[in-house]
């Protein structure tokens, strides 16, 4: 199995924001199975609740900061089929959208957490979500509302290629 992480830290979000967008590569290719997601704030003194969503998004995609998926097995000679890009398009990934795309969004998971504790979502194996190769929409970790404190956010996800 090849596992990869996409993450960012010390991020200032601008409002209701796509934290991470990731899309499977065009078929034929591997599928992406998502093992965990996390969101936290590295410095905060104010207890507050924050909503978080997992969603799929059809074109038009958001504009994001390009991030190359990091190998969890550093000696693996192969990079992920997903590459970093600012376009948020299929087969790419990025973080902290500066502009939300106009594409329609479909919520697949809605949750909330205390910002002092952060949010770690680990679906049990039967509940993991799989984005198949060639899927027309991207997959998103999304803040549906602006957090009370917009600075110092850290977030990420881990997926494996299956």
């Amino acid at each position: 199995m090849r596992e990869f992480s996409v993450s960012a830290g010390g991020v200032t979000v601008v409002g209701a924001t796509t934290l991470i967008t990731i899309g499977a590569a065009a078929a034929p290719s591997v599928n992406l199975e998502f093992l965990r997601y996390w969101v936290g704030q590295s410095a905060n003194a104010t207890s507050a609740q924050q909503r978080i969503e997992l969603a799929t998004k059809a074109s038009v995609f958001p504009t994001v900061t390009s991030v190359t998926p990091a190998k969890l097995k550093p000696s693996d000679p192969n990079a992920s089929v997903v590459t970093g890009a600012t376009t948020g398009a299929i087969g790419t990934t990025g973080t902290n959208a500066s502009a939300e795309g106009a594409g329609s969004q479909t919520i697949v998971w809605d949750d909330a957490f205390n910002v002092l504790n952060g949010w770690l979502h680990v679906p049990t194996p039967a509940e993991t979500r799989v984005i198949p190769a060639g899927y027309a929409s991207t997959y998103e970790l999304y803040f549906p509302v602006t957090p009370g404190t917009t600075t110092n956010w850290a977030f990420g996800l881990v997926y494996r290629e299956v």
């Binding site: 010390g10 965990r36 996390w38 905060n44 003194a45 002092l116 504790n117 979502h121 680990v122 850290a154």
Partner: protein, 121 residues
């Protein structure tokens, strides 16, 4: 004199993770975590991402994992240092006015973080 907390936290003794009497500093998933108070009692990771113990050390789940039928166990990290234990849940529990205890729950039962802050037993 100003103090660069980020630089200070990189060199701080992790067994005593304060840089002053008011701020708790730990590390989790590559980020320096600053808190004014330990985590509240009975908070569990997951779904919480961070457990801030009395000394400021931050417990969270690492990326190494074991997959069992219908569940995962992840490597427990303390300030991003693997503790050599896989667990399904980390729990922080504090008695009223007393010190807190970090427990981990896994396939082989419950383990408690030692008072000398070295290992789960």
């Amino acid at each position: 004199m100003s103090v660069d907390n980020t630089a200070l936290s990189d060199t701080v003794d992790r067994n005593r993770s304060h840089d002053d009497a008011h701020l708790l500093i730990g590390k989790a998933l590559g980020n320096v975590i600053r808190r004014e108070d330990p985590t509240e009692s009975y908070v569990c990771c997951p779904p919480a991402c961070y457990i801030t113990a009395d000394d400021g050390a931050v417990f969270t789940m690492g990326f190494d994992y074991i997959e069992y039928p219908h569940k995962y166990e992840f490597m427990v990290l303390r300030n991003d240092v693997p503790m050599g234990q896989f667990a399904e849940t980390i729990e922080y529990r504090r008695s009223a006015g007393g010190s807190g205890v970090v427990r981990i729950f896994g396939r082989d039962g419950v383990r408690v973080f030692s008072r000398n802050r070295r290992a789960f037993i």
